[in-house]
């Protein structure tokens, strides 16, 4: 399994709320840029995972076998995804970047 597939399972989006999935949350370049920032060890570790059982729980269970510090990868993923304007705006009603009233001059 590739990280993009996994992350789309973890963060599938919500059509009703207008929230995109992980891979649709930003431009392709930015999504690829994030994926490239992942540690090689993580990508190697999940390469052997398959999509034979599509339940979320089975994928999360499989991730427990990942040797690398999974928490750091998940924190990075959450930081990226929940920073995307396309995700935050429908969930919070707030625009990002938050500073829309001007920038001080000094």
């Amino acid at each position: 399994m590739q990280p993009k597939e996994l992350f789309d399972i973890l963060l599938p989006g919500d059509d009703r709320l207008g929230v995109p999935s992980f891979s649709m949350s930003d431009s392709e370049d930015n999504v690829i840029g994030f994926l490239k920032s992942l540690p090689n060890g993580f990508i190697d570790d999940i390469a052997h995972l398959t999509l034979t059982d599509s339940s979320l729980e089975s994928h999360l269970d499989a991730l427990k076998g990942v040797r690398l510090d999974l928490r750091q990868v998940m924190y990075s993923l959450l930081s990226f995804y929940f920073s995307r304007p396309a995700v935050v705006r429908p969930l919070t009603g707030r625009s990002i970047p938050l500073s829309t009233s001007g920038i001080a001059k000094f």
């Binding site: 399972i9 973890l10 963060l11 599938p12 919500d14 709320l17 929230v19 979320l56 999360l60 928490r71 998940m74 924190y75 959450l78 930081s79 990226f80 929940f82 920073s83 995307r84 304007p85 935050v88 969930l91 919070t92 707030r94 990002i96 970047p97 938050l98 500073s99 009233s101 001007g102 920038i103 001080a104 001059k105 000094f106």
Partner: protein, 535 residues
């Protein structure tokens, strides 16, 4: 330009000193190890503002490798060192909660039999608190009985919002003290370089609008119009001495050029980690270390504000995502508890608004409550804007075993030793924090929170750092005298929080600046013989 005075560090202490000295015609060279970030470069002006808190704008010193940063090993401390090396220093990232130290904070030994007394008292600082508050356009409400001498604010208090109003009712219900925050945030005024706050929230990732007073948009802005020359990306490695006379500094620029600047007076204002680093590096190159009479105390008596955090969850949305995160209200009910307690001194309850989007999900993930998949979205909505917190800010006491030292095994890019921190929470702090967390949960429950939790110390909260070049009258028990002059040297001074004798339990920014102005004024009048004062 041949400077009359060199100031090292452009943050909370250095910038006010440079400004005040420049007002009297002194040519001031202000050396700053970090970069000069423009407002547009601050995180909340860009999409990835929350992610930048983990890299360039990470407040944790050991998590950052910007220009001007140096290695900080704080693994032997439950609290991580937080600061920021840039033009403006930590004022770029602080929350702008801006109370004064209280009168009795300066006489802790006399009043409570622990710690030590300052050689400076509240009345001496009072005019400088007033000057500073005028300069930053203090926002707040006059009348808190804990601050009877505070007679003027220049902006209305930051609006409490729904969250603050709920919390205030909780305090009222319990009959406990609370007051709207004093802050350095423009809530009414709308100036060119300091626009009116519109409640973004994340002040601690920098304020591109300038609503928050930093040293950049206050003292530096004014100082640079006159006799202050600012040099970013210039790291001072040590003082240069000729016998006991300070004759200048050794500097390394961004291109790693090492050179010296001659000057008969040098003020160190690099903070309670950066300043002892320079002093210890200076000391390391001296044959006769006894020149600096208080050498044994450099880096010792490190104080922090151990911080516990209680959080409340409210079933109704309280919009706690809106408004300055660290400026809402505070309580000094337990500044000096009236009921019997098993600890000395006390703490402030500092109300904090709710989490940002990323922090909301990271907090859920960190506590193993986050559900991935379709359910993550309703879970986010149920939590975002529904929580708020109370920080228990504990007054710390000096302890000779809590210290910073040079770390010769870990050098910065210029080959200068980094810093190793050794710090333990005292048993007094532990008891105080446990008590404080219980009280904070009580008030959150009284405010309507249906779920509360409390934990501490919180690691990444070591913002308030003090005591590593302590001020005192005894040259063998302190590093500087009551004028900030380094015992034994002529022309060397420390004007930052390193000189603090005790820590109070309130945010120190206002007091750091007032003290720096006070010491600068003394330098002008008493040592340089200027004919008039600002005050």
């Amino acid at each position: 330009m041949t400077p009359d005075i060199i100031v090292v560090g452009s943050g909370m202490a250095g910038a006010p000193a440079a400004w005040m000295l420049s007002q009297h015609g002194f040519k001031v060279l202000l050396l700053e190890s970090g970069t000069d970030f423009s407002p547009a470069e601050l995180p909340s002006a860009s999409v990835d503002w929350e992610r930048k808190r983990e890299t360039t704008f990470n407040p944790v010193a050991s998590g950052r490798t910007n220009i001007g940063d140096y290695p900080v090993d704080d693994l032997k401390s439950p609290i991580a060192v937080c600061n920021f090396n840039a033009v403006g220093g930590s004022s770029i990232l602080y929350s702008a909660h801006f109370p004064r130290f209280l009168r009795s904070d300066f006489k802790v030994k006399s009043n409570y039999g622990v710690g030590a007394d300052w050689p400076v008292d509240y009345d001496e600082l009072l005019p400088y608190f007033e000057l500073n508050e005028r300069f930053v356009k203090l926002s707040g409400k006059v009348g808190d009985y804990f601050f009877p001498e505070l007679k003027q604010a220049y902006n209305s208090p930051v609006p409490l919002g729904i969250a603050g109003e709920k919390l205030a009712k909780g305090y009222e219900c319990l009959g406990w003290h609370w007051w709207p925050s004093f802050s350095a945030i423009n809530t009414d005024l709308n100036l060119e370089r300091r626009l009116k706050c519109h409640g973004l929230g994340p002040c601690n990732t920098g304020c591109p609008m300038g609503a928050k007073a930093t040293t950049n948009n206050t003292y530096l802005h004014e100082g640079l119009k006159g006799n202050v020359i600012l040099k970013p990306n210039h790291t001072v490695s040590k003082l240069l001495l000729n016998g006991a006379d300070v004759i200048g500094v050794e500097v390394i620029d961004i291109n790693k050029h090492l050179f010296t600047i001659e000057c008969p007076r040098v003020i160190l204002a690099a903070g309670a980690i950066g300043t002892p680093r320079i002093l210890l590096n200076t000391l390391g190159h001296l044959n006769n270390k006894s020149i600096m009479h208080g050498a044994d105390f450099i880096g010792k008596n490190l104080m922090m504000h151990p911080l516990g955090y209680a959080e409340g969850y409210f079933p109704d949305k309280i919009h706690s995502d809106k408004g300055p995160q660290g400026a809402m209200l505070y309580s000094l009910e337990f500044y000096r508890p009236t009921e019997a307690v098993d600890f000395n001194l006390g703490f402030m309850m500092h109300a904090l608004r709710g989490d940002t989007p990323v922090d909301t999900v990271k907090s859920l993930y960190g506590t193993r409550k986050l559900v991935f998949g379709k359910n993550i979205y309703p879970q986010f909505i149920e939590n975002y804007g529904h929580n708020m917190g109370i920080a228990i800010i504990c007054e710390d006491l000096p302890d000779i075993n809590n210290k910073v030292e040079l770390d010769h095994a870990s050098l910065d890019v210029n080959g200068i030793p980094g810093i190793r921190v050794t710090y333990q929470l005292s048993s007094n702090s532990k008891r105080m924090m446990a008590y404080g967390l219980k009280k904070a949960r009580n008030v959150l429950q009284a405010s309507g929170a249906t779920k509360t939790s409390g934990f501490g110390p919180i690691r990444n909260t070591g913002w308030h750092l003090f005591g590593t070049a302590c001020m005192g009258n005894d040259p063998n028990r302190s590093v500087v005298d009551k004028n900030g002059a380094i015992h034994g040297l002529r022309g060397g001074y420390v004007f930052d929080a390193s000189v603090f004798v005790t820590s109070s339990c309130v945010n120190p920014a206002n007091t750091i600046q007032a003290l720096s102005l006070f010491l600068s004024d003394k330098l002008i009048k008493d040592i340089l013989g200027a004919t008039k004062r600002i005050i």
